[in-house]
Amino acid sequence: MEISPDHIKILQVGGLTLNATIFFTWVVMLLMTAGSWLVTRRLRTETELSRWQNLLEVIVTGIRDQIRGVSKQDPGPYLHFVGTLFLFIAVSNLLSIVPGYQPPTGSLSTTAGLAICVFIAVPVFGIAESGVAGYFRHYIRPTFFMLPFNIMGEFSRSIALAVRLFGNVMSGTMIAGILLSITPLLFPIVMQALGLLTGMIQAYIFAVLAMVYIASATRAFREIEEKREKAETAAEKGKERPVEKSREEKGE
């Protein structure tokens, strides 16, 4: 039994090997690109829509709403990145009901690649929002001594992002494979259905976590900072009440 689709060879030309991970990534990319190209070829603004345009509009509106709910800001700049992550992971997980298909997210290489994308996107969005100095000041936020912990946290959360997705998808295919050899009739189908649910939830969670990380690098820090500064200036004026209030808020 193979632990990841990296070792399954689809095609070998000379010294180049096309493994199942890359092949099925291309299949998913092709499917999504061709699908959305076909649908968006004839977009209409009238009241009567084609059903596929309706589907895409529902998806895009849903993603926008979720991003707005998570980050409490305009979803415009983040829609492309987070939406692409969600759609790619969701489609590659959902296609696992097709026989012979190996989900590319069941390989640590793919999930590590996606996590590296998030790892790079966080400082990019952060710098675009608050400038180089403003972004890197986050690393010494409470005190200077927190610098190594902040850097370590940045790396460990990226690794966690990759291993979580890999472990969930891999466990789905693995459990189906093991059950096929023990109780081959009905039970693997139930686990496969559960795997679909897990795949969808993991896609959602990956996208939400990416959004949370990006948002924490941009907006949230600034708001906390503003609140604290406000409290400090109020305290300097001799008013005790706002400080207590901010303490209560922190306690929550």
């Binding site: 966690a160 291993v163 979580r164 466990s171 939400v208």
Partner: protein, 92 residues
């Protein structure tokens, strides 16, 4: 006993212990999180959306420790590097 048998015994036993012990903590943690989220939803049904979303994200975070244990035990069972090393040395 030869090295190969020893590695097999230790790997299988460790894989079982890893997933058994490693799933206790996350199970308790997730149960607490879900129970608290349910009582929060019961108190504030209007905030159910936000609570559910936060619950899902935090469940994924809690669950990831169990997933790490699962990945380690799967590596020990199906892609054991020590096993492959000994096999490669015996073959080559």
């Amino acid at each position: 006993m030869d090295n190969l048998g020893l590695i097999a015994i230790v790997s299988i036993a460790t894989a079982g212990i890893t997933i058994a012990i490693g799933s206790i903590g996350p199970a308790l943690g997730e149960a607490r999180a879900v129970a608290n989220a349910l009582s929060a939803i019961a108190q504030q049904p209007d905030e159910a959306n936000t609570i559910t979303r936060t619950l899902f994200v935090s469940l994924a975070m809690i669950e990831s420790t169990a997933i790490y244990c699962f990945v380690v035990s799967m590596i020990l069972l199906f892609a054991n590097p020590f096993w492959n090393y000994i096999l490669g040395k015996a073959g080559g």
